[in-house]
């Protein structure tokens, strides 16, 4: 790997150097970029422009096939939203609630972020707007108990989905990670096979640290997919390529705006086109 990188640096082939810069500026990261360029070198052909080959390499990395879609078959399907502070968990959850409602599903939302000031108020306003049912306890109460109640309530009402909001936490804080693992265990005990999705919400402006987040959250609560939030800015969100490439986690949803309907299924092709600046 290192040698491939060195080779590329040592022998300045203009187009590859430019592509390297683009990938690095998109937060793809040094290691993933080196491996991608290596794959690109192997597959280059005179018949295809190099950018088109690169796009193909990236799409293949990102394409998760049947794992791309959210798992919503179970009744109720329990979806947990986890992540570090400020990535957009609550907003993403509200957007998904709105989408599921518009598809005619009955949705229960668990306000298991009992820590952040006014998080429950924020969630209440957002779920009302989305037309979902909120289960909340007092600020400071046990998040696992909130999740348990929400799941029970969903089963009693035959709701289709339970969306569990959790407090943001830095993955380096082992105590808080243990608390999150407990929420997951309690859900798993309440419904066999649950949680059906554990979605790690990643801020598109995040750099290499997102890889570490995915690794550590993955170990603690078995993350099943990534939601890339805030992708409508100047940040390209290339770190999800590294996450997919290194950890194999599928990217499931993308947040592209502030409105309740601005959450779309992840489309590898569109993502790569935007990442490479649309010029192919």
């Amino acid at each position: 790997m290192r040698t491939a990188f060195g080779r590329l640096l040592g022998r300045p082939s203009d187009d590859l150097v430019a592509l390297e810069e683009e990938l690095l500026l998109a937060d793809v990261g040094v290691k993933a970029t080196a491996r991608i360029l290596e794959a690109l070198t192997d597959r280059r052909s005179a018949r295809e422009p190099v950018r088109a080959t690169l796009a193909r390499v990236l799409e293949e990395i990102l394409d998760a096939g049947p794992d791309q879609a959210l798992r919503l078959d179970a009744e109720p399907s329990v979806l947990m939203f986890v992540g570090v502070n400020g990535t957009g968990k609550t907003t993403t959850l509200a957007k998904l609630a709105a989408r599921l409602r518009s598809e005619g599903r009955m949705v229960v939302v668990a306000a298991a972020d009992t820590y952040r000031a006014a998080a429950i108020d924020q969630l209440r306003l957002l779920t009302e707007r989305a037309g979902a049912r909120l289960v909340a306890h007092q600020p400071g109460s046990d998040p696992a108990a909130v999740a348990f109640d929400a799941v029970q309530s969903a089963m009693a009402r035959r709701a289709n989905a339970v969306l569990v909001d959790t407090a943001g936490r830095l993955h380096t804080s082992s105590g808080l990670m243990a608390e999150l693992a407990k929420v997951r265990r309690v859900i798993a005990r309440a419904v066999p096979g649950a949680p059906h999705e554990v979605l790690l919400v990643v801020d598109a402006t995040t750099g290499q640290n997102a890889l570490e987040q995915a690794r550590v959250f993955g170990q603690a609560v078995a993350v099943s997919g990534i939601v890339l939030a805030k992708l409508d800015g100047t940040a390209r969100g290339g770190i999800v390529i590294a996450i997919r490439e290194e950890l194999g986690l599928p990217i499931k949803l993308v947040g592209v705006g502030e409105g309740l309907d601005d959450l779309v299924p992840f489309d590898p092709r569109a993502f790569v086109r935007a990442l490479l600046g649309g010029s192919e």
């Binding site: 937060d27 990261g29 040094v30 400020g86 000031a117 924020q122 804080s173 801020d203 402006t205 290499q208």
Partner: protein, 444 residues
């Protein structure tokens, strides 16, 4: 944070140090490593490139390669440039004479503006009388969050109503500050998902109409390459007096810190370093540079220790430090004190030499402390004073006595050994022939 970058650079430098003579190719290889380490730490691509260019420009000078310690010379250059990039002195908040002094916090969604506003109020307590103003009229429950935090911080708050004009409301609140007995107003503004014209226009209006003394941009330490766009856009359009870098307590290597300063020339003034309202520190660039190079942040540790430990204990520690005798009893006492310093991982990261050894990796949770106390309490006085006499049969007895396993006893003794090493290192520093201050690097 910066953990990996520090480890990485230490590795590079170890290789350089071992060499008597360096060729240009050696330097070239080392600089390539430095560049990759910087990129992995999220330093902006162009900032990293310029950084390496500058070091190269100075390193290929004849005096470096022909000096007796070329490796040391290159390391020195990297450190100097790093300090240069981070800013050489800490930049304090400058609130001036005019009353009320207005501080505006801006930033993207989720960067930590509201929390920072409350933390800044706590930070200024005792020196200034702060009024918190919430000017986020868009995010649901943003006002409530600020009011809750203001109550926790023990300062008054005024919050603009949803969908009102935040600029007019804020101006009105600033007018009320004097009547409330406040001499400082901290304004928490609305965030956006990204840079948009509407937000910028609002910030420009705020700045023009309020004439804030300090306009601070709050930036998440985990931000990647985009930090540069963010900083440039806000600085060009609105004007930024300084930065607050949040979430520095994670393991983000925080390359954004280097980028922000490089593209705007404005200093980082504060760092957010934990949960809770106390978790805001003045940003010390030199200490940070030393931390990047794996030399530990002794000054921060000492400052925190002074806040948490009484003076007598501190004098005792200092004496022990000088004599470099450090028994298991001291270890236990220290563990107890450290409990009051904050999460252990945070504290350990500040210790020199803690990067890359078992101490730095140690994830100590409070239960470990209880176990450690039980184990040490189960030892005889002789065992505590001279741990080397603790053989296998003693270990078994201690484990039984403390209700733990022999492995636990072994681990505790291992940790003690590491701590003792660090202690010796600190003692050497204190008595060092050149009387170095811990924040200074050895020359050459």
């Amino acid at each position: 944070m910066f953990g990996s970058l520090a480890g990485r650079l230490q590795g590079i430098f170890r290789q350089l140090r071992g060499r008597g003579k360096l060729t240009e190719r050696d330097v070239e290889a080392a600089l390539r490593e430095v560049r990759m380490a910087l990129l992995e730490a999220d330093v902006n691509f162009r900032v990293a490139r310029d950084f390496v260019e500058r070091v190269r420009g100075r390193a290929v000078g004849a005096e470096v390669l022909q000096s007796l310690t070329p490796g040391q010379q290159v390391i020195k250059l990297v450190h100097e440039e790093l300090v240069e990039l981070l800013g050489s002195r800490e930049a304090r908040l400058d609130l001036g004479q005019q009353v009320p002094a207005v501080v505006v916090l801006m930033g993207l969604h989720g960067s930590g503006k509201t929390t920072t506003a409350a933390r800044l109020a706590v930070h200024l307590k005792g020196k200034r009388r702060v009024l918190l103003v919430g000017a986020d009229v868009y995010r649901p429950a943003a006002g409530e969050q600020l009011e809750v935090l203001a109550r926790q911080a023990g300062v008054p708050a005024r919050v603009a109503q949803p969908r009102s004009d935040p600029v007019a409301e804020t101006r009105r609140f600033c007018g009320e500050a004097a009547a409330l007995g406040c001499d400082t107003v901290i304004v928490d503004t609305a965030g956006r998902l990204h840079l948009d014209e509407e937000l910028m226009a609002e910030m420009v209006r705020l700045r023009e109409e309020l004439g804030p003394r300090e306009t601070l941009l709050v930036v998440d330490a985990m931000t990647g390459q985009d930090a540069v766009n963010l900083a440039e856009a806000f600085h060009r359009r609105v004007g930024v007096d300084g930065f607050v870098l949040t979430k520095l307590d994670g393991d983000a290597r925080g390359g954004a810190a280097l980028s922000l300063r490089a593209v705007t020339g404005r200093p980082i003034k504060f760092a957010g370093v934990g949960e809770g309202l106390q978790a805001l520190e003045v940003f010390h660039p030199e200490r940070m540079a030393s931390r990047i190079l794996g030399r530990g942040d002794v000054l921060t540790l000492v400052e925190r220790a002074q806040a948490a430990v009484d003076e007598q204990t501190l004098r005792d520690w200092e004496r022990k430090l000088r004599q470099a005798d450090f028994t298991l009893d001291d270890f236990l006492a220290q563990l107890r004190q450290v409990k009051r310093l904050g999460p252990l991982e945070d504290v350990l990261k500040l210790l020199p030499g803690a990067t890359g050894n078992r101490l730095g990796e140690a994830k100590l949770d409070p239960r470990e402390l209880v176990r450690a106390e039980a184990i040490i309490s189960s030892m005889t006085r002789e065992e505590r004073a001279s741990p080397e006499i603790i053989d296998g049969s003693r270990r078994r007895r201690i484990a039984r006595g403390s209700g733990t396993r022999v492995q636990d006893v072994n681990r505790l003794l291992g940790q003690y050994e590491e701590a003792r090493k660090v202690f010796r290192q600190l003692a050497r520093w204190q008595r060092g022939p050149r009387r170095q201050r811990p924040d200074r690097l050895p020359r050459g």
